[in-house]
Amino acid sequence: MAVLEEIGQTGEAASPARFARGVLLPLGFAVLVILTWQILCEWLRVPPILLPPPSAVWAVLRDNYGILLQQALPTATETIVSFAVASLLGVALAVALTFSAWIREAFYPNLVMFQLIPKIALAPLFIVWLGVGEKTATVVAVFIAFFPVVVSSATGLVSAKPEVLQLCRSLAASEWQVFHMVRFPYAMPFIFAGMKVGVTMAMIGVVVGEFITVQKGLGYIILFAAGAGETATVLAAIVLLCGIGLALYGAVELAERVVRHRYGGAMPVGGVI
Protein backbone atom coordinates (compact mmCIF):
# COMPACT_ATOMS: atom_id res chain seq x y z
CA MET A 1 0.00 0.00 0.00
CA ALA A 2 1.10 3.49 -0.75
CA VAL A 3 0.73 4.50 2.87
CA LEU A 4 3.23 2.01 4.18
CA GLU A 5 5.75 3.09 1.58
CA GLU A 6 5.09 6.67 2.53
CA ILE A 7 5.74 5.90 6.17
CA GLY A 8 8.91 4.10 5.20
CA GLN A 9 10.07 7.09 3.18
CA THR A 10 9.37 9.60 5.92
CA GLY A 11 11.32 7.35 8.25
CA GLU A 12 14.26 7.27 5.87
CA ALA A 13 14.14 11.01 5.45
CA ALA A 14 15.48 11.03 9.03
CA SER A 15 13.77 14.30 9.84
CA PRO A 16 12.71 13.75 13.46
CA ALA A 17 9.63 15.93 13.19
CA ARG A 18 8.32 13.98 10.24
CA PHE A 19 9.18 10.70 11.88
CA ALA A 20 7.23 11.75 14.95
CA ARG A 21 4.25 12.70 12.83
CA GLY A 22 4.29 9.70 10.55
CA VAL A 23 4.98 6.96 13.08
CA LEU A 24 4.49 8.23 16.61
CA LEU A 25 1.21 10.03 15.95
CA PRO A 26 -0.69 6.98 14.67
CA LEU A 27 0.90 4.77 17.31
CA GLY A 28 0.05 7.32 19.97
CA PHE A 29 -3.53 7.41 18.77
CA ALA A 30 -3.77 3.62 18.94
CA VAL A 31 -2.35 3.63 22.48
CA LEU A 32 -4.81 6.37 23.42
CA VAL A 33 -7.74 4.30 22.13
CA ILE A 34 -6.58 1.26 24.08
CA LEU A 35 -6.12 3.34 27.24
CA THR A 36 -9.59 4.88 26.87
CA TRP A 37 -11.02 1.42 26.34
CA GLN A 38 -9.36 0.20 29.56
CA ILE A 39 -10.50 3.18 31.59
CA LEU A 40 -14.06 3.13 30.26
CA CYS A 41 -14.34 -0.60 30.93
CA GLU A 42 -13.31 -0.06 34.53
CA TRP A 43 -15.40 3.05 35.15
CA LEU A 44 -18.59 1.87 33.56
CA ARG A 45 -18.16 -1.69 34.85
CA VAL A 46 -18.80 -3.17 31.43
CA PRO A 47 -19.41 -6.90 31.87
CA PRO A 48 -16.35 -8.76 30.55
CA ILE A 49 -18.57 -10.93 28.37
CA LEU A 50 -19.55 -7.84 26.39
CA LEU A 51 -16.18 -6.15 26.25
CA PRO A 52 -13.22 -7.19 28.37
CA PRO A 53 -10.62 -4.50 29.10
CA PRO A 54 -7.33 -4.77 27.18
CA SER A 55 -5.61 -5.88 30.38
CA ALA A 56 -7.83 -8.99 30.48
CA VAL A 57 -6.97 -9.75 26.86
CA TRP A 58 -3.30 -9.37 27.70
CA ALA A 59 -3.75 -11.68 30.70
CA VAL A 60 -5.22 -14.37 28.44
CA LEU A 61 -2.36 -13.95 26.00
CA ARG A 62 0.21 -14.16 28.80
CA ASP A 63 -1.31 -17.11 30.66
CA ASN A 64 -2.39 -19.27 27.73
CA TYR A 65 0.16 -18.45 25.10
CA GLY A 66 1.11 -22.13 24.83
CA ILE A 67 -2.37 -23.22 23.77
CA LEU A 68 -2.92 -20.16 21.62
CA LEU A 69 0.34 -20.59 19.73
CA GLN A 70 -0.41 -24.28 19.31
CA GLN A 71 -3.71 -23.33 17.65
CA ALA A 72 -2.10 -20.51 15.69
CA LEU A 73 0.30 -22.94 14.06
CA PRO A 74 -2.26 -24.81 11.88
CA THR A 75 -3.89 -21.50 10.94
CA ALA A 76 -0.58 -19.97 9.88
CA THR A 77 0.48 -23.11 7.99
CA GLU A 78 -2.84 -23.38 6.18
CA THR A 79 -2.69 -19.71 5.21
CA ILE A 80 0.87 -19.93 3.90
CA VAL A 81 0.19 -23.14 1.96
CA SER A 82 -3.03 -21.84 0.44
CA PHE A 83 -1.45 -18.51 -0.43
CA ALA A 84 1.52 -20.21 -2.10
CA VAL A 85 -0.70 -22.55 -4.11
CA ALA A 86 -3.06 -19.72 -5.11
CA SER A 87 -0.15 -17.51 -6.21
CA LEU A 88 1.52 -20.23 -8.28
CA LEU A 89 -1.73 -21.32 -9.93
CA GLY A 90 -2.84 -17.73 -10.46
CA VAL A 91 0.36 -16.55 -12.10
CA ALA A 92 0.61 -19.75 -14.17
CA LEU A 93 -2.93 -19.37 -15.49
CA ALA A 94 -2.33 -15.69 -16.18
CA VAL A 95 0.78 -16.61 -18.22
CA ALA A 96 -1.23 -19.20 -20.14
CA LEU A 97 -3.85 -16.54 -20.87
CA THR A 98 -1.25 -14.14 -22.26
CA PHE A 99 -0.10 -16.46 -24.99
CA SER A 100 -3.40 -16.69 -26.81
CA ALA A 101 -5.70 -13.77 -27.48
CA TRP A 102 -8.56 -16.22 -28.07
CA ILE A 103 -8.19 -18.00 -24.79
CA ARG A 104 -7.80 -14.71 -22.98
CA GLU A 105 -10.92 -13.24 -24.46
CA ALA A 106 -12.86 -16.42 -23.79
CA PHE A 107 -11.87 -16.88 -20.15
CA TYR A 108 -10.88 -13.51 -18.80
CA PRO A 109 -14.42 -12.09 -18.42
CA ASN A 110 -15.46 -15.30 -16.70
CA LEU A 111 -12.59 -14.93 -14.24
CA VAL A 112 -13.62 -11.33 -13.56
CA MET A 113 -17.15 -12.60 -13.00
CA PHE A 114 -15.87 -15.03 -10.40
CA GLN A 115 -14.01 -12.17 -8.79
CA LEU A 116 -17.35 -10.41 -8.22
CA ILE A 117 -19.42 -13.19 -6.76
CA PRO A 118 -19.29 -14.04 -3.05
CA LYS A 119 -17.15 -17.15 -3.32
CA ILE A 120 -17.12 -17.61 0.43
CA ALA A 121 -20.63 -19.00 0.10
CA LEU A 122 -19.18 -22.09 -1.58
CA ALA A 123 -17.43 -23.09 1.64
CA PRO A 124 -20.14 -25.59 2.72
CA LEU A 125 -19.73 -27.39 -0.62
CA PHE A 126 -16.07 -28.00 0.13
CA ILE A 127 -17.13 -29.77 3.31
CA VAL A 128 -19.29 -32.08 1.22
CA TRP A 129 -16.35 -32.72 -1.11
CA LEU A 130 -13.45 -32.90 1.31
CA GLY A 131 -14.97 -33.53 4.72
CA VAL A 132 -14.16 -31.55 7.84
CA GLY A 133 -10.53 -30.85 8.47
CA GLU A 134 -7.51 -28.77 7.65
CA LYS A 135 -7.65 -29.72 3.99
CA THR A 136 -11.06 -28.12 3.55
CA ALA A 137 -9.98 -24.82 5.09
CA THR A 138 -6.87 -24.79 2.88
CA VAL A 139 -8.79 -25.50 -0.32
CA VAL A 140 -11.44 -22.88 0.50
CA ALA A 141 -8.64 -20.37 1.03
CA VAL A 142 -6.91 -21.31 -2.23
CA PHE A 143 -10.17 -20.92 -4.09
CA ILE A 144 -10.76 -17.45 -2.65
CA ALA A 145 -7.19 -16.19 -2.96
CA PHE A 146 -6.71 -17.47 -6.50
CA PHE A 147 -8.92 -15.04 -8.39
CA PRO A 148 -7.37 -11.72 -7.34
CA VAL A 149 -3.94 -13.09 -8.28
CA VAL A 150 -4.95 -14.34 -11.72
CA VAL A 151 -7.01 -11.27 -12.65
CA SER A 152 -4.34 -8.83 -11.56
CA SER A 153 -1.47 -10.82 -13.13
CA ALA A 154 -3.31 -11.22 -16.42
CA THR A 155 -3.89 -7.46 -16.50
CA GLY A 156 -0.22 -6.86 -15.83
CA LEU A 157 1.05 -9.30 -18.43
CA VAL A 158 -0.79 -7.54 -21.25
CA SER A 159 0.09 -4.06 -20.03
CA ALA A 160 3.67 -3.89 -21.30
CA LYS A 161 4.18 -0.77 -23.38
CA PRO A 162 3.50 -1.39 -27.08
CA GLU A 163 6.66 0.55 -28.06
CA VAL A 164 8.84 -1.78 -26.04
CA LEU A 165 7.17 -4.83 -27.53
CA GLN A 166 7.68 -3.37 -31.02
CA LEU A 167 11.32 -2.76 -30.24
CA CYS A 168 11.68 -6.37 -29.15
CA ARG A 169 10.09 -7.53 -32.34
CA SER A 170 12.38 -5.41 -34.50
CA LEU A 171 15.37 -6.80 -32.59
CA ALA A 172 14.09 -10.27 -33.45
CA ALA A 173 13.62 -11.30 -29.83
CA SER A 174 12.06 -14.70 -29.36
CA GLU A 175 8.64 -15.01 -27.73
CA TRP A 176 10.36 -16.36 -24.59
CA GLN A 177 12.85 -13.49 -24.46
CA VAL A 178 10.04 -10.97 -24.81
CA PHE A 179 8.22 -12.71 -22.02
CA HIS A 180 10.93 -12.92 -19.43
CA MET A 181 12.68 -9.66 -20.27
CA VAL A 182 9.70 -7.40 -20.91
CA ARG A 183 6.27 -8.78 -20.14
CA PHE A 184 7.10 -10.38 -16.84
CA PRO A 185 9.04 -7.44 -15.31
CA TYR A 186 6.31 -5.06 -16.48
CA ALA A 187 3.70 -7.26 -14.84
CA MET A 188 5.57 -7.42 -11.51
CA PRO A 189 3.72 -4.57 -9.77
CA PHE A 190 0.40 -6.06 -10.88
CA ILE A 191 1.35 -9.56 -9.80
CA PHE A 192 2.37 -8.29 -6.39
CA ALA A 193 -0.76 -6.18 -6.08
CA GLY A 194 -2.78 -9.33 -6.77
CA MET A 195 -0.69 -11.32 -4.32
CA LYS A 196 -1.25 -8.73 -1.59
CA VAL A 197 -5.00 -9.01 -2.02
CA GLY A 198 -4.51 -12.77 -2.26
CA VAL A 199 -2.71 -13.05 1.05
CA THR A 200 -5.45 -11.22 2.95
CA MET A 201 -8.05 -13.32 1.13
CA ALA A 202 -6.22 -16.55 2.04
CA MET A 203 -6.36 -15.52 5.67
CA ILE A 204 -10.11 -14.85 5.42
CA GLY A 205 -10.63 -18.17 3.67
CA VAL A 206 -8.76 -20.11 6.35
CA VAL A 207 -10.65 -18.41 9.17
CA VAL A 208 -14.04 -18.97 7.55
CA GLY A 209 -13.04 -22.56 6.78
CA GLU A 210 -12.18 -23.03 10.44
CA PHE A 211 -15.46 -21.38 11.47
CA ILE A 212 -17.55 -23.89 9.61
CA THR A 213 -15.45 -27.05 9.84
CA VAL A 214 -14.61 -26.54 13.52
CA GLN A 215 -11.76 -28.76 14.63
CA LYS A 216 -8.72 -26.68 15.41
CA GLY A 217 -7.04 -23.42 14.62
CA LEU A 218 -7.63 -19.85 15.72
CA GLY A 219 -10.96 -19.66 13.88
CA TYR A 220 -12.11 -22.62 15.95
CA ILE A 221 -10.85 -20.99 19.18
CA ILE A 222 -12.71 -17.80 18.30
CA LEU A 223 -16.02 -19.51 17.61
CA PHE A 224 -15.65 -21.83 20.60
CA ALA A 225 -14.72 -19.06 23.03
CA ALA A 226 -17.50 -16.83 21.70
CA GLY A 227 -19.97 -19.63 22.31
CA ALA A 228 -18.66 -20.01 25.86
CA GLY A 229 -18.90 -16.26 26.45
CA GLU A 230 -15.14 -15.89 26.93
CA THR A 231 -14.77 -12.69 24.99
CA ALA A 232 -11.26 -12.02 26.28
CA THR A 233 -10.09 -15.27 24.68
CA VAL A 234 -11.82 -14.29 21.43
CA LEU A 235 -9.95 -11.00 21.39
CA ALA A 236 -6.66 -12.68 22.28
CA ALA A 237 -7.05 -15.07 19.34
CA ILE A 238 -7.92 -12.12 17.09
CA VAL A 239 -4.75 -10.33 18.21
CA LEU A 240 -2.73 -13.37 17.13
CA LEU A 241 -4.63 -13.56 13.83
CA CYS A 242 -3.88 -9.90 13.16
CA GLY A 243 -0.22 -10.62 13.92
CA ILE A 244 -0.13 -13.48 11.44
CA GLY A 245 -2.00 -11.46 8.82
CA LEU A 246 0.32 -8.48 9.12
CA ALA A 247 3.44 -10.66 9.12
CA LEU A 248 2.37 -12.41 5.93
CA TYR A 249 1.42 -9.14 4.25
CA GLY A 250 4.78 -7.71 5.31
CA ALA A 251 6.55 -10.74 3.85
CA VAL A 252 4.87 -10.17 0.48
CA GLU A 253 5.73 -6.47 0.65
CA LEU A 254 9.36 -7.36 1.42
CA ALA A 255 9.49 -9.89 -1.41
CA GLU A 256 8.16 -7.21 -3.74
CA ARG A 257 10.91 -4.81 -2.71
CA VAL A 258 13.60 -7.43 -3.24
CA VAL A 259 12.27 -8.46 -6.64
CA ARG A 260 11.80 -4.88 -7.78
CA HIS A 261 15.29 -4.07 -6.67
CA ARG A 262 16.67 -6.92 -8.76
CA TYR A 263 14.60 -6.12 -11.82
CA GLY A 264 15.03 -2.41 -11.28
CA GLY A 265 18.62 -2.62 -12.51
CA ALA A 266 17.53 -3.97 -15.83
CA MET A 267 14.23 -2.24 -16.37
CA PRO A 268 12.34 0.65 -14.85
CA VAL A 269 9.08 -0.67 -13.52
CA GLY A 270 6.30 1.87 -13.42
CA GLY A 271 2.58 2.31 -13.40
CA VAL A 272 1.05 0.35 -10.56
CA ILE A 273 -2.70 -0.11 -10.77
Binding site: G22, P26, A101, R104, E105, V128
Partner: protein, 273 residues
Amino acid sequence: MSVDSAAASAVAAPAGAGALGPRLRGSRPVLLPLAAAAAMLLGWQVADILLHVPSLVLPTPVEIGGELWRALPTLLAQALPTTRDTLMAFAAASVLGVGLAVVITYSPLLRDMLYPNLVFFQLVPKVALAPLFVIWLGIGSPSRVVFAGFVSFFPVVISAAVGLEGTDPAALRLCRSLTASEWRSFVLVRFPFALPAIFSGMKVAMTMAVIGVIIGEFISSQAGLGFYILNAGSRLDTPDVFAALVVLCALGVALYGAVALAERGVRRVYGRH
Protein backbone atom coordinates in the same frame (compact mmCIF):
# COMPACT_ATOMS: atom_id res chain seq x y z
CA MET B 1 -10.31 -1.77 -8.21
CA SER B 2 -8.14 -3.68 -10.58
CA VAL B 3 -11.09 -5.74 -11.70
CA ASP B 4 -12.79 -2.93 -13.43
CA SER B 5 -9.85 -1.56 -15.32
CA ALA B 6 -8.87 -5.11 -16.16
CA ALA B 7 -12.26 -5.82 -17.64
CA ALA B 8 -12.11 -2.60 -19.58
CA SER B 9 -8.69 -3.38 -20.99
CA ALA B 10 -9.78 -6.89 -21.90
CA VAL B 11 -12.75 -5.49 -23.76
CA ALA B 12 -10.66 -2.85 -25.43
CA ALA B 13 -7.97 -5.33 -26.46
CA PRO B 14 -7.65 -5.17 -30.22
CA ALA B 15 -9.16 -8.18 -31.94
CA GLY B 16 -6.10 -10.03 -33.15
CA ALA B 17 -7.24 -12.48 -35.80
CA GLY B 18 -9.39 -10.68 -38.31
CA ALA B 19 -10.95 -13.75 -39.90
CA LEU B 20 -14.40 -12.89 -38.68
CA GLY B 21 -16.92 -10.61 -40.30
CA PRO B 22 -17.09 -7.07 -38.94
CA ARG B 23 -20.39 -7.58 -37.16
CA LEU B 24 -19.23 -10.80 -35.58
CA ARG B 25 -15.95 -9.25 -34.56
CA GLY B 26 -17.81 -6.47 -32.79
CA SER B 27 -19.74 -8.91 -30.64
CA ARG B 28 -16.73 -11.17 -30.05
CA PRO B 29 -15.91 -9.81 -26.59
CA VAL B 30 -19.42 -10.75 -25.50
CA LEU B 31 -19.97 -13.98 -27.42
CA LEU B 32 -16.62 -15.60 -26.77
CA PRO B 33 -16.80 -15.61 -22.96
CA LEU B 34 -20.42 -16.72 -23.10
CA ALA B 35 -19.45 -19.56 -25.43
CA ALA B 36 -16.61 -20.53 -23.11
CA ALA B 37 -18.99 -20.57 -20.15
CA ALA B 38 -21.51 -22.64 -22.10
CA ALA B 39 -18.78 -25.06 -23.16
CA MET B 40 -17.68 -25.49 -19.56
CA LEU B 41 -21.24 -26.18 -18.43
CA LEU B 42 -21.63 -28.69 -21.24
CA GLY B 43 -18.35 -30.38 -20.33
CA TRP B 44 -19.49 -30.55 -16.70
CA GLN B 45 -22.78 -32.14 -17.73
CA VAL B 46 -21.14 -34.71 -20.00
CA ALA B 47 -18.37 -35.58 -17.52
CA ASP B 48 -20.93 -35.96 -14.75
CA ILE B 49 -22.98 -38.42 -16.80
CA LEU B 50 -20.02 -40.34 -18.22
CA LEU B 51 -18.24 -40.74 -14.88
CA HIS B 52 -21.45 -41.47 -12.95
CA VAL B 53 -20.70 -38.80 -10.36
CA PRO B 54 -23.34 -39.03 -7.63
CA SER B 55 -25.48 -35.91 -7.48
CA LEU B 56 -24.59 -35.62 -3.80
CA VAL B 57 -21.02 -34.85 -4.80
CA LEU B 58 -21.58 -32.83 -7.94
CA PRO B 59 -25.02 -32.52 -9.50
CA THR B 60 -25.29 -31.87 -13.23
CA PRO B 61 -26.14 -28.36 -14.43
CA VAL B 62 -29.49 -29.66 -15.66
CA GLU B 63 -30.28 -31.04 -12.21
CA ILE B 64 -29.27 -27.70 -10.66
CA GLY B 65 -31.49 -25.90 -13.14
CA GLY B 66 -34.41 -28.15 -12.22
CA GLU B 67 -33.81 -27.58 -8.51
CA LEU B 68 -33.50 -23.85 -9.11
CA TRP B 69 -36.85 -23.82 -10.93
CA ARG B 70 -38.51 -25.87 -8.20
CA ALA B 71 -37.12 -23.90 -5.26
CA LEU B 72 -37.18 -20.46 -6.86
CA PRO B 73 -40.02 -18.98 -4.75
CA THR B 74 -38.33 -20.10 -1.51
CA LEU B 75 -34.94 -18.92 -2.72
CA LEU B 76 -36.26 -15.50 -3.67
CA ALA B 77 -37.96 -15.21 -0.29
CA GLN B 78 -34.63 -16.08 1.37
CA ALA B 79 -32.75 -13.65 -0.86
CA LEU B 80 -34.88 -10.80 0.46
CA PRO B 81 -33.33 -10.53 3.95
CA THR B 82 -29.85 -11.02 2.47
CA THR B 83 -30.38 -8.22 -0.04
CA ARG B 84 -31.87 -5.90 2.56
CA ASP B 85 -29.01 -6.45 5.02
CA THR B 86 -26.42 -6.01 2.27
CA LEU B 87 -27.91 -2.76 1.01
CA MET B 88 -28.18 -1.31 4.51
CA ALA B 89 -24.60 -2.27 5.32
CA PHE B 90 -23.34 -0.90 2.01
CA ALA B 91 -25.20 2.40 2.42
CA ALA B 92 -23.90 2.89 5.95
CA ALA B 93 -20.34 1.98 4.95
CA SER B 94 -20.40 4.32 1.94
CA VAL B 95 -21.79 7.32 3.78
CA LEU B 96 -19.55 6.90 6.81
CA GLY B 97 -16.53 6.04 4.68
CA VAL B 98 -16.80 9.04 2.40
CA GLY B 99 -17.62 11.24 5.39
CA LEU B 100 -14.53 10.18 7.30
CA ALA B 101 -12.41 10.53 4.16
CA VAL B 102 -13.58 14.15 3.77
CA VAL B 103 -12.77 14.88 7.41
CA ILE B 104 -9.34 13.32 7.01
CA THR B 105 -8.64 15.32 3.88
CA TYR B 106 -9.28 18.63 5.63
CA SER B 107 -7.40 17.88 8.83
CA PRO B 108 -3.77 16.86 8.29
CA LEU B 109 -3.45 16.10 12.00
CA LEU B 110 -6.39 13.68 11.98
CA ARG B 111 -5.11 12.23 8.74
CA ASP B 112 -1.69 11.43 10.14
CA MET B 113 -3.31 10.05 13.27
CA LEU B 114 -5.97 7.86 11.71
CA TYR B 115 -4.83 6.85 8.26
CA PRO B 116 -2.14 4.30 9.19
CA ASN B 117 -4.57 2.75 11.66
CA LEU B 118 -7.22 2.51 8.94
CA VAL B 119 -4.74 0.78 6.66
CA PHE B 120 -3.90 -1.58 9.50
CA PHE B 121 -7.57 -2.51 9.78
CA GLN B 122 -7.75 -2.96 6.05
CA LEU B 123 -5.02 -5.60 6.23
CA VAL B 124 -6.15 -7.68 9.18
CA PRO B 125 -8.75 -10.45 8.78
CA LYS B 126 -11.78 -8.59 10.12
CA VAL B 127 -13.94 -11.60 9.37
CA ALA B 128 -12.64 -13.14 12.60
CA LEU B 129 -14.60 -10.53 14.52
CA ALA B 130 -17.95 -11.89 13.33
CA PRO B 131 -18.68 -13.90 16.51
CA LEU B 132 -18.07 -10.78 18.60
CA PHE B 133 -20.83 -8.94 16.78
CA VAL B 134 -23.15 -11.79 17.70
CA ILE B 135 -22.20 -11.31 21.36
CA TRP B 136 -22.74 -7.57 21.11
CA LEU B 137 -25.86 -7.35 18.98
CA GLY B 138 -27.49 -10.75 19.18
CA ILE B 139 -28.29 -13.11 16.35
CA GLY B 140 -30.73 -10.82 14.55
CA SER B 141 -30.38 -8.74 11.42
CA PRO B 142 -28.71 -5.74 13.19
CA SER B 143 -25.61 -7.77 14.06
CA ARG B 144 -25.19 -8.83 10.44
CA VAL B 145 -25.76 -5.33 9.09
CA VAL B 146 -23.24 -3.82 11.48
CA PHE B 147 -20.69 -6.56 10.82
CA ALA B 148 -21.03 -6.26 7.04
CA GLY B 149 -20.89 -2.48 7.34
CA PHE B 150 -17.73 -2.78 9.43
CA VAL B 151 -16.08 -5.04 6.87
CA SER B 152 -17.00 -2.88 3.89
CA PHE B 153 -16.28 0.48 5.54
CA PHE B 154 -12.49 0.31 5.23
CA PRO B 155 -12.16 -0.04 1.45
CA VAL B 156 -14.42 3.00 0.99
CA VAL B 157 -12.63 5.28 3.42
CA ILE B 158 -9.15 4.38 2.16
CA SER B 159 -10.05 4.64 -1.49
CA ALA B 160 -11.96 7.90 -0.99
CA ALA B 161 -9.15 9.41 1.09
CA VAL B 162 -6.60 8.53 -1.59
CA GLY B 163 -8.86 10.03 -4.25
CA LEU B 164 -9.53 13.27 -2.36
CA GLU B 165 -5.86 13.60 -1.55
CA GLY B 166 -4.85 13.03 -5.15
CA THR B 167 -6.61 16.06 -6.60
CA ASP B 168 -4.52 17.83 -9.19
CA PRO B 169 -2.65 20.54 -7.19
CA ALA B 170 -2.73 22.85 -10.20
CA ALA B 171 -6.53 22.79 -10.23
CA LEU B 172 -6.63 23.57 -6.50
CA ARG B 173 -4.17 26.44 -6.96
CA LEU B 174 -6.32 27.80 -9.74
CA CYS B 175 -9.32 27.69 -7.42
CA ARG B 176 -7.39 29.56 -4.78
CA SER B 177 -6.25 32.23 -7.19
CA LEU B 178 -9.85 32.64 -8.34
CA THR B 179 -10.72 33.09 -4.63
CA ALA B 180 -13.10 30.16 -4.66
CA SER B 181 -14.33 29.29 -1.18
CA GLU B 182 -13.17 26.02 0.40
CA TRP B 183 -16.67 24.65 -0.10
CA ARG B 184 -16.84 25.61 -3.76
CA SER B 185 -13.45 24.16 -4.55
CA PHE B 186 -14.53 20.98 -2.78
CA VAL B 187 -17.79 20.66 -4.72
CA LEU B 188 -16.37 21.74 -8.07
CA VAL B 189 -12.88 20.23 -7.99
CA ARG B 190 -11.95 17.86 -5.21
CA PHE B 191 -15.08 15.77 -5.16
CA PRO B 192 -15.40 15.26 -8.94
CA PHE B 193 -11.69 14.42 -9.11
CA ALA B 194 -12.13 11.82 -6.38
CA LEU B 195 -15.23 10.20 -7.88
CA PRO B 196 -13.46 7.37 -9.72
CA ALA B 197 -11.55 6.45 -6.56
CA ILE B 198 -14.69 6.70 -4.42
CA PHE B 199 -16.61 4.46 -6.76
CA SER B 200 -13.83 1.91 -6.97
CA GLY B 201 -13.88 1.79 -3.18
CA MET B 202 -17.65 1.42 -3.23
CA LYS B 203 -17.45 -1.45 -5.70
CA VAL B 204 -15.09 -3.33 -3.40
CA ALA B 205 -17.38 -2.41 -0.51
CA MET B 206 -20.42 -3.89 -2.24
CA THR B 207 -18.75 -7.26 -2.72
CA MET B 208 -17.43 -7.10 0.85
CA ALA B 209 -20.93 -6.27 2.15
CA VAL B 210 -22.36 -9.37 0.47
CA ILE B 211 -19.54 -11.48 1.91
CA GLY B 212 -20.07 -9.98 5.36
CA VAL B 213 -23.79 -10.67 5.34
CA ILE B 214 -23.26 -14.24 4.13
CA ILE B 215 -20.68 -14.95 6.83
CA GLY B 216 -23.03 -13.41 9.39
CA GLU B 217 -25.77 -15.70 8.16
CA PHE B 218 -23.43 -18.68 8.33
CA ILE B 219 -22.74 -18.25 12.01
CA SER B 220 -26.07 -16.94 13.24
CA SER B 221 -29.28 -16.74 11.36
CA GLN B 222 -32.68 -18.22 10.84
CA ALA B 223 -33.17 -16.77 7.38
CA GLY B 224 -31.28 -15.61 4.33
CA LEU B 225 -29.30 -17.27 1.56
CA GLY B 226 -26.27 -18.00 3.78
CA PHE B 227 -28.53 -19.82 6.22
CA TYR B 228 -30.20 -21.66 3.35
CA ILE B 229 -26.85 -22.76 1.89
CA LEU B 230 -25.52 -24.03 5.22
CA ASN B 231 -28.82 -25.78 5.91
CA ALA B 232 -28.94 -27.45 2.49
CA GLY B 233 -25.27 -28.39 2.87
CA SER B 234 -25.86 -30.11 6.20
CA ARG B 235 -28.80 -31.98 4.64
CA LEU B 236 -26.27 -33.05 1.96
CA ASP B 237 -28.70 -31.67 -0.62
CA THR B 238 -25.99 -30.50 -3.01
CA PRO B 239 -28.32 -29.51 -5.89
CA ASP B 240 -30.13 -27.24 -3.45
CA VAL B 241 -26.81 -25.68 -2.38
CA PHE B 242 -25.96 -24.97 -5.99
CA ALA B 243 -29.39 -23.52 -6.72
CA ALA B 244 -28.97 -21.13 -3.79
CA LEU B 245 -25.46 -20.28 -4.99
CA VAL B 246 -26.82 -19.39 -8.42
CA VAL B 247 -29.27 -16.95 -6.85
CA LEU B 248 -26.55 -15.56 -4.60
CA CYS B 249 -24.15 -15.05 -7.53
CA ALA B 250 -26.88 -13.31 -9.50
CA LEU B 251 -27.52 -11.10 -6.48
CA GLY B 252 -23.82 -10.28 -6.09
CA VAL B 253 -23.39 -9.40 -9.74
CA ALA B 254 -26.62 -7.38 -9.81
CA LEU B 255 -25.57 -5.32 -6.78
CA TYR B 256 -22.12 -4.73 -8.24
CA GLY B 257 -23.76 -3.80 -11.54
CA ALA B 258 -25.97 -1.30 -9.72
CA VAL B 259 -22.89 0.46 -8.33
CA ALA B 260 -21.22 0.45 -11.74
CA LEU B 261 -24.39 1.88 -13.28
CA ALA B 262 -24.62 4.56 -10.60
CA GLU B 263 -21.01 5.45 -11.34
CA ARG B 264 -21.79 5.89 -15.00
CA GLY B 265 -24.79 8.10 -14.20
CA VAL B 266 -22.89 10.28 -11.75
CA ARG B 267 -19.91 10.60 -14.05
CA ARG B 268 -22.15 11.72 -16.87
CA VAL B 269 -23.74 14.40 -14.68
CA TYR B 270 -20.34 15.67 -13.62
CA GLY B 271 -18.94 15.34 -17.13
CA ARG B 272 -21.44 17.89 -18.41
CA HIS B 273 -20.20 20.62 -16.06
